[in-house]
C-alpha cells in the first residue's frame, strides 16, 4: 500500500493548485487511507486538511516545507507533538525576522528544534537537488550527511519522485546511489501540487501570478506535464516497480507518524497570581465579589448557578482564561473605556458576575450550555466590543504590556 507523504495545497500560496479538502477527497477516491500535507513555510492548511480528513475517516499527517538559508527547503513531517511544537517555533522565528513571503531558518536553529521531525531529501526544491546542482554528487552526499546529523539517521529518508521527466531520473539515480552508500531508506512520493490532472492549469496560472508573467511569456516556468497530481497506489507501484521498497517505506513511515492535529495538547494560559492564591481560589473570590454586586447576598438560584459554572470551569482548567478576560474588562473600566461582552458569553453567570457581560442569565433563564459544555468538547470564546480608535488601541497596548509581545497577537479574519 502506498501513502502520499509529500503534497502541497493552495495554502502554499501560488505553489499549490488544490484546497486541502480537495486533496483529502481525491485521496479517499484513490483508495488511500493516509496522506501528509507539507505546505511552504506554514501550517495554514493543516486545520482544514485535518477536519476534511476527519470527516471521511482519513488519517492526516502534518508537516511543512521550511526554507533554508540557501533557498532550498527542508520537507519536514511531524512525528510527535514535540515535533509539531518545534515546527511551529521554527516557522514563527523565521517569519518574525523577515518580510512577508520571505525569510529562512538557520541550520543551527534546525539542529536545536529538529526533535520530533522527519526530514525528506525533497524534490526539485529539496536539499538533495540543490546540492546536486551546485556541487555534484559529492556535495549531495555531504548535504545528506548534514541532514543525518541534524535530524538523526533514523529520521532521514531519501525521497524519489517520478514525474516522467528525463532530467528527474538522473537525479533519482544519484539519490539512489547516496541512499545505498549511506544505507538510508528510500521513500517514493509524487511531490503533489494538485489533486487531479486538470488542476495543472490552475497551478500554471498561479505560477504566472507568482512570477509576474503572462501564460504566453512564462515559458519554462510552467509545468512540463500534468504528473504532479495525486496518484493511486497502483499507479505509484507501477512507477516504482524497480524500487518496491520505496513504496513499502511510505507505509512504514506513515505508521511512525503518531501526531494528529487533534492531539495538540493546548492549554489555556494562566493568569499571574498573587502569593498564596490558586487560579481556582482567585476566580472564585472575584466571582463571589461580583455576585454580591450583581445579585446581592441572598439569591440562592444565582449562587447555585455560579457554583455549577465554577465547577465546570475548574474541571476544564479554564480559570486562567476567565481571569484574563476579567482583567482586560477591569482595565477598560478603570480607564473609562466602554467595554461589553456579547454573544454566547451572555449565557454565563460567571461572566455576568465578573462584569464581562451585562445581561443577567439567571433572571432571564438563559442556557449556560450554549456557552460552555463538557460534552461539546469546544473551547469557549468571549467576544468583547470596544470603541474604535485610540481607546481600543489603549486596551490593545495594555494586553501587549501585560502579557508580552510574544504572548499576545492580533488576528484578522475574512468572513465569506
Amino acid at each position: 500500500m502506498y501513502t502520499e507523504l509529500h503534497a502541497r495545497s493552495a495554502f502554499s500560496f501560488l505553489e499549490g493548485g488544490s484546497t486541502p479538502e480537495d486533496l483529502v477527497s481525491v485521496c479517499a477516491e484513490r483508495g488511500m487511507e493516509t496522506m501528509a500535507l507539507l505546505d511552504r513555510d506554514g501550517v495554514y492548511g493543516a486545520p482544514r486538511f485535518h477536519l476534511g480528513a476527519k470527516k471521511i475517516r482519513l488519517r492526516a499527517h502534518i508537516g511543512a516545507e521550511v526554507t533554508a538559508a540557501d533557498g532550498w527547503r527542508y520537507p519536514l513531517l511531524v512525528e510527535t507533538r514535540e515535533g509539531y511544537q518545534n515546527l511551529c517555533r521554527l516557522i514563527t522565528r523565521m517569519k518574525m525576522r523577515a518580510k512577508k513571503g520571505e525569510g529562512h531558518v538557520f541550520a543551527k536553529e534546525m539542529t536545536k528544534l529538529g526533535g520530533g521531525l522527519i526530514c525528506l531529501t525533497g524534490g526539485e526544491e529539496g536539499p538533495l537537488t540543490h546540492a546536486l546542482l551546485h556541487g555534484g554528487a559529492a556535495e549531495a552526499e555531504r548535504r545528506v550527511h548534514e541532514l543525518c546529523e541534524t535530524f538523526g539517521r533514523e529520521n532521514v529518508y531519501v525521497e524519489l519522485q517520478r514525474h516522467l521527466c528525463r532530467h528527474e531520473e538522473a537525479r533519482n539515480q544519484a539519490a539512489l546511489a547516496i541512499a545505498r552508500k549511506m544505507k538510508l531508506p528510500l521513500l517514493a512520493t509524487n511531490g503533489v501540487s494538485y489533486a487531479q490532472p486538470p488542476q495543472r492549469e490552475v497551478l500554471d496560472v498561479f505560477t504566472c501570478i507568482r512570477h509576474h508573467r503572462t501564460l504566453a511569456t512564462a515559458g519554462r516556468l510552467l509545468s512540463r506535464n500534468c504528473e504532479r497530481h495525486l496518484k493511486s497506489p497502483e499507479e505509484m507501484k507501477r512507477l516504482f516497480a524497480d524500487l518496491p521498497e520505496a513504496i513499502t517505506n511510505t507505509q512504514e513511515l506513515s505508521a511512525r507518524l503518531g501526531f494528529v492535529l487533534s492531539d495538540l495538547g493546548y492549554k489555556f494560559p494562566d493568569y499571574p497570581m498573587p502569593d498564596g492564591e490558586t487560579q481556582t481560589s482567585f476566580l472564585r473570590k472575584r466571582t463571589y465579589e461580583g455576585m454580591l454586586w450583581r445579585y446581592g447576598g441572598g439569591n440562592e438560584r444565582a449562587r447555585q448557578q455560579l457554583e455549577c459554572e465554577l465547577a465546570l470551569i475548574d474541571k476544564l482548567h479554564l480559570e486562567g482564561y476567565f481571569l484574563i478576560v476579567w482583567d482586560i474588562v477591569r482595565f477598560c473600566r478603570e480607564q473609562d473605556i466602554l467595554v461589553q461582552g456579547r454573544g454566547s458569553a451572555a449565557n454565563s453567570a460567571v461572566c455576568y458576575a465578573l462584569g464581562i457581560t451585562a445581561v443577567d442569565p439567571v433572571g432571564m433563564e438563559l442556557l449556560f450550555d450554549r456557552f460552555l459544555s463538557e460534552e461539546r468538547g469546544e473551547w469557549p470564546d468571549i467576544d468583547l466590543d470596544l470603541p474604535s480608535g485610540d481607546q481600543r488601541e489603549r486596551a490593545i497596548q495594555y494586553v501587549y504590556e501585560r502579557y508580552g509581545k510574544l504572548g499576545a497577537a492580533m488576528t484578522a479574519n475574512v468572513i465569506t
Binding site: 516522467l164 521527466c165 510552467l222
Partner: protein, 519 residues
C-alpha cells in the same frame, strides 16, 4: 562671442532643399486657397524677372521660365530642424531665434575649430552640406551678430568695439522694423543703421518711444542680452509631400535617397547614427473601387491609407547609400500597394559605432555589408526565414525561432564547472527534420515493434515514457509521450543491427513519430 546664423530667403531655400533641381531656376512660392493664391516668396532670379511678393499666382504664371511651387510647411519644418542641428553640431549653447535664424555661442571653441573666422567658415560649410545657404556673422553681442547676419552675405567677424562702424552701412530693414516704424524712418530720410545711430537718443525716445531707443541701440551695435538656450531635440524626421503620387519603386527610391541624404546629414552634424529607420507613407485614397459602394464606405476610402515599415539596423549607421539599399530591399519585399502621396522618414538615434576591434578577436564581415546581404537573402526567401535559430523558452521539444543574425562579437563569461561536479557524458542525438512517421505496436502500453522508413525494428529495451504537454490555453496545445527505444533490425541471414532511437507519440494527432537517432 556669438555667431548669428541667418538663412536668407528661407522659404525659397527650404523649397530648393526639398527639390534640388530648382537650385538654378527662377522660383516663386505661392500660398493660399485658389483662386486667391499669392506669391509669398521668390528667388533672386525670379525677382529679377519681375516677380513680386503678393503678386497673384495667375500673374506670376505669366512670366516665362518661372517655376511656381506651393509653399510647403513640411519642407520649412525640415529645413528649420536642419538649421538647429547645424547649430548644435558646433556648440551645445544655441538660441532658436526664428525659423530662419539661430545664434550660436562660440566662446571657447577656438581649440577645436580655430579663430572666429574659421568657426564662421565651418558653420557656412556645414550649412552647405545640409542644403542651406547661410550668412554667418561673429560678434561680441547677440544683437550685433543677428543684425549683421541679416545684412552681410557670407561670413564676417566684427571685432569688439567696431560694431557701430560695421553696421553703419547696412539698411535699417535689418533691424526688423514694423511697417509703421519703417514708414516713419523713410519719411525722415533715415535709410541706414549709421543714420539711425547718429540721431540723438533722447529726442528719438520722445518721438518713437522705447522701441525707438531699442532700435537705436541695435543700430549702434549695442545689442547685449542673455541667450535663451534651446534644448537639443532627439527626433530626426524628414518629410516630403508629393504633388504627383508615386507608384514605382525607382522614382520612390530617388525621393527616399534625397530624404536619407538630408537625414544622414543632420545625424552627422550631431555625431549620431541611426539604429532604426521608421518609414511612413501616406497612400493615395482609392476612389475607383468605392463608386458603387455606400456613402460611408466612400468616406472611409477617402481617408488616406498609411503604410508603415520599420528598418531595424544591427549596428547604428548613417551611410545614406547603404540605408537606401536596405530601404529599397525592404520595400521590394513588402511594397506599399498603392501610390504614395507623402513620405516621412524618422530615425531613432544611437551613438556611432566604434569600429576598433580587439587584436585577438576573429575578423567579421563589415556589419553594414552583412546587413545588406541578409536583406537581399530575406528578399528572396522571405522575411523571418533568414537569421539564427534560437531555442524558445518552452518545454515543447525542438521548439525554435529564427532571430536576426548579428555579427557583433560578445565577450562571454565562460562558466567554470562547479568544483567537485562530476563530468557529464552526454549522448548526442541526431534529430530528423521533419520527423519520420512510424507505426508502433504496443504490449501492456509499452512499444514492442516499430515500423518506419520501410524498416521493422523489434524493441530490445525501452525507457520512458517522458511526458510533455503545454500551452493548454492555445488551439495548438501539444501533448507528447517520448520513448528511448533500442531497436533490433534484421539485416541478413542471422545478422542483426541494433540502434537507439527516440520515438514519440503525439496525442494531438494520434500518431507515432521517430524524432531522432542516438550516435
Amino acid at each position: 562671442m556669438f555667431a548669428g546664423v541667418f538663412a536668407e530667403n528661407f522659404l525659397v531655400q527650404a523649397a530648393v532643399r526639398g527639390e534640388p533641381g530648382l537650385q538654378e531656376c527662377a522660383l516663386a512660392l505661392v500660398d493660399g486657397a485658389p483662386p486667391l493664391a499669392k506669391v509669398v516668396a521668390a528667388s533672386e532670379a525670379a525677382r529679377r524677372m519681375g516677380v513680386e511678393i503678393g503678386m497673384p499666382k495667375a500673374t506670376a504664371a505669366q512670366f516665362l521660365g518661372v517655376e511656381i511651387r506651393v509653399r510647403s510647411l513640411t519642407l520649412e519644418k525640415s529645413a528649420h530642424a536642419a538649421l538647429l542641428d547645424l547649430g548644435w553640431s558646433i556648440s551645445p549653447r544655441m538660441e532658436d531665434t526664428a525659423v530662419d535664424t539661430v545664434v550660436v555661442d562660440v566662446a571657447g571653441l577656438g581649440s577645436i575649430f580655430g579663430d572666429e573666422e574659421a568657426i564662421a567658415g565651418e558653420l557656412l560649410k556645414r550649412g552647405r552640406a545640409c542644403g542651406l545657404r547661410l550668412n554667418v556673422v561673429v560678434a561680441a553681442n547677440i544683437g550685433a551678430a543677428l543684425t549683421a547676419a541679416r545684412g552681410i552675405a557670407g561670413t564676417c567677424v566684427i571685432a569688439r568695439g567696431t560694431e557701430a562702424a560695421r553696421l553703419s552701412g547696412l539698411p535699417v530693414s535689418v533691424l526688423l522694423l514694423s511697417e509703421e516704424m519703417a514708414e516713419t524712418l523713410e519719411r525722415w530720410g533715415v535709410r541706414t543703421c549709421g543714420a539711425l545711430a547718429a540721431l540723438p537718443v533722447l529726442e528719438l525716445s520722445e518721438r518713437l518711444g522705447q522701441e525707438g531707443v531699442r532700435l537705436h541701440a541695435l543700430a549702434r551695435g549695442d545689442g547685449a542680452r542673455a541667450m535663451i538656450v534651446a534644448e537639443p531635440g532627439h527626433t530626426f524626421e524628414e518629410e516630403m509631400e508629393l504633388d504627383d503620387a508615386v507608384e514605382e519603386l525607382e522614382p520612390l527610391s530617388f525621393l527616399l535617397g534625397r530624404l536619407l541624404d538630408q537625414l544622414c546629414g543632420r545625424l552627422a552634424a550631431r555625431a549620431l547614427a541611426a539604429s532604426v529607420i521608421r518609414m511612413r507613407f501616406e497612400l493615395e485614397p482609392a476612389f475607383e473601387k468605392a463608386i458603387e459602394a455606400k456613402k460611408e464606405i466612400v468616406r472611409a476610402k477617402n481617408l488616406p491609407g498609411v503604410f508603415e515599415r520599420e528598418l531595424q539596423l544591427p549596428v547604428a549607421m548613417r551611410d545614406a547609400k547603404m540605408l537606401l539599399k536596405l530601404v529599397r530591399l525592404r520595400l521590394q519585399a513588402n511594397p506599399p500597394g498603392a501610390p504614395i502621396v507623402k513620405i516621412r522618414l524618422a530615425a531613432e538615434t544611437a551613438r556611432t559605432r566604434v569600429t576598433q576591434n580587439g587584436l585577438f578577436l576573429p575578423s567579421f564581415p563589415d556589419a553594414e555589408k552583412l546587413e545588406l546581404t541578409i536583406a537581399r537573402i530575406a528578399n528572396v526567401v522571405g522575411e523571418g526565414n533568414v537569421g539564427v535559430a534560437e531555442r524558445m523558452d518552452t518545454h515543447r521539444v525542438d521548439a525554435f525561432q529564427v532571430v536576426k543574425f548579428l555579427a557583433a562579437v560578445e565577450e562571454r563569461d565562460y562558466e567554470m564547472p562547479a568544483r567537485g561536479a562530476s563530468a557529464r557524458i552526454a549522448m548526442s542525438c541526431r534529430i530528423f527534420r521533419p520527423v519520420l512517421a512510424a507505426k508502433v505496436e504496443l504490449e501492456a502500453k509499452r512499444p514492442v515493434r516499430v515500423f518506419f522508413a520501410g524498416m521493422r525494428g523489434d524493441v530490445a529495451a525501452a525507457a520512458g515514457p517522458w511526458k510533455t504537454s503545454g500551452e493548454w490555453w492555445r488551439e495548438d496545445a501539444w501533448q507528447q509521450e517520448e520513448w528511448d527505444l533500442e531497436l533490433v533490425f534484421r539485416v541478413g541471414r542471422g545478422e542483426s543491427e541494433r540502434r537507439l532511437y527516440r520515438v514519440y507519440y503525439d496525442a494531438k494527432c494520434e500518431g507515432w513519430f521517430v524524432r531522432g537517432v542516438y550516435d
